[in-house]
């Protein structure tokens, strides 16, 4: 098991850096992971996506795909790629402290 320290808190992560326990997450951890992903500041739109990701994961047990994000988070695709460059679904999932979505097979 890999342990990483974000915002002074030790958390268990998998080999790709995703939190193993979504309940160990807090907003400070999110900000620290975002910095690692090259996102220097989390805007209100970032948080909107992050909280939608967590809600979707709590309800369905899997993170949403980009299509679900676009349809249901209230943030359009273009904006999603600005917020989380190169892979909104997988990056937002990591920042939101949930597992990588199963979308990519």
């Amino acid at each position: 098991m890999i342990t990483k320290t974000y915002a002074g808190k030790a958390v268990a992560v998998n080999e790709e850096g995703y939190l193993l326990d979504s309940l160990a997450w807090d907003e400070k951890i999110a900000a620290a992971i975002a910095t690692e992903e090259g996102i220097s500041e989390l805007s209100p739109d970032h948080w909107k996506v992050i909280f939608y990701m967590r809600k979707a994961f709590a309800e369905r047990g899997d993170g949403p795909s980009i299509r679900q994000l676009t349809k249901q988070s209230g943030v359009d695709t273009k904006r999603l790629y600005q917020l989380f460059p190169k892979g909104p679904a997988k990056k937002a999932a990591r920042v939101a402290g949930i597992p990588k979505p199963h979308g990519c097979i």
């Binding site: 299509r67 695709t77 790629y81 892979g87 979308g103």
Partner: protein
């Protein structure tokens, strides 16, 4: 009389009809299978058509040649499924009542989902090879193409046969070499994935193969639209890639009848238990093959492996017993790599493709994750196996529905 209805007479539906015809009591059960087309396409063969390696007639047969004589075959469009009433409504007004339903309606390409893809450049400088029409049109375009920028682009995942776009690029390299114009062609593979393939180890191996053949790879590219005036594909983050010829793998979606029935997810795939293959919503509905939302590749081998599990589970469900058979996500694919060579990969939900021998550990004759001549012949022989063993529902010698770890190097 009880009714088993199968929607879709492609690879998965045809195998299920044959297997269940052998296993169900004919005095008690009527099998009805519905499809919009009377023709069965050997879809893995589409890949070879653009390069003139296969002719269209080699990949088309009549569906009735492969369906059991006792089953009723209905050619028609499904309007919708009404699960609350255990019935299927056809577009011609006919109603099919069912006791158990198998959804095997597959996926299709939807270029209209991406702005500019199906516009004025469609089939003049933008082509697909996931339909027979598309593959034939592309063959015509490639025959006398003088060279230039050939871009192969995957729109979004998941797609049917995720290795086919790679095979296309590798075969294109070969094709242009033989035509003596390889130096005039810039081959460019543009994908939304972080690398050449979905699984890291195979991705590294296949990425190396592309590099060795001088294929440029642009990963992490999610197409937003085609700029028709400038002949470029433009990503959501404004990256742009110019093309002279674009070979697109458009968005893949499940059948529209699934959406009309309210049974699909955002891409019209049927939410399905990944181990039992029962619908997540209705106990007397099952789904198989490309139509499901399973986190496995959409491929004929998957449909074939699933058919063993689904047959057992459907018989258990009919007998009122728990569903004991479990699908492990087994995928087995030959990858054509050009110049008469090929690779073979074998993996499941949990275990990535690994090197080794297949199907006999240490013996083979096929080599996993390695380019060999024999793998290429395996791929070619598979067309005959498909028509004569796989579709009729016969067991494949030495190949099992559950993946084996024996003989694989998992380090």
């Amino acid at each position: 009389m009880k009714n088993l209805v199968i929607l879709g007479a492609g690879t998965a539906g045809t195998i299920m009809a044959n297997k269940l015809h052998h296993r169900l009591d004919h005095a008690e059960w009527q099998i009805t299978i519905v499809d919009r087309s009377a023709l069965h396409y050997y879809q893995p063969g589409f890949l070879f058509i653009p390069f003139g390696l296969y002719q269209p007639e080699q990949v088309v047969r009549n569906k009735t040649d492969f369906l059991p004589a006792g089953a009723r075959f209905v050619i028609g469009e499904v309007d919708r499924i009404e699960p609350e009433h255990n019935q299927v409504l056809l577009a011609n007004g006919e109603i099919l009542l069912y006791d158990d339903l198998i959804i095997a309606t597959g996926v299709d390409i939807h270029p209209e989902e991406t702005e500019g893809l199906k516009g004025r450049l469609w089939r003049t400088s933008i082509f697909d090879f996931y339909t027979l029409d598309g593959a034939v049109a592309l063959a015509r375009a490639l025959k006398d193409w003088p060279g230039g920028r050939l871009v192969v682009n995957i729109t979004e995942m998941p797609i049917k046969c995720p290795v086919a776009p790679l095979e296309f690029v590798l075969l294109a390299d070969d094709f242009f070499r033989l035509r003596g114009i390889r130096d005039k062609v810039d081959l460019h593979f543009v994908t939304p994935l972080p690398g050449a393939f979905t699984k890291p180890k195979a991705s590294a191996r296949l990425g190396g193969l592309l590099a060795a053949k001088g294929v440029r790879v642009t990963p992490d590219f999610s197409i937003a639209r085609v700029d028709e005036d400038n002949q470029t594909i433009v990503a959501w983050d404004d990256q742009a890639v110019p093309f002279d010829l674009l070979v697109t793998i458009p968005t893949n979606k499940g059948d529209a009848a699934i959406a009309r029935s309210g049974l699909g997810d955002e891409l019209d795939f049927v939410p399905t238990d990944k181990h039992t293959l029962r619908s997540s919503q209705y106990p007397n509905i099952f789904a198989i093959g490309d139509a499901t939302n399973l986190p496995a590749s959409k491929a004929g081998s998957v449909a074939h492996f699933e058919s063993d599990v689904l047959t057992e589970n459907l018989l258990s469900a009919i007998a009122g017993q728990p569903l004991a058979a479990q699908f492990d996500g087994h995928v087995n694919c030959f990858i054509e790599s050009g110049a008469g060579r090929g690779l073979l990969i074998d993996f499941n939900y949990e275990v990535e493709p690994a090197p080794g021998k297949f199907p006999l550990p240490g013996v083979g004759p096929f080599s996993l994750l390695k380019e060999t001549r024999l793998n290429h012949f395996g791929k070619l022989a598979f067309r005959h196996i498909y028509w004569n063993l796989l579709l009729p529902g016969h067991a494949m010698p030495l190949v099992h529905s559950h993946m084996s770890l024996v003989g694989k190097d998992l380090s």
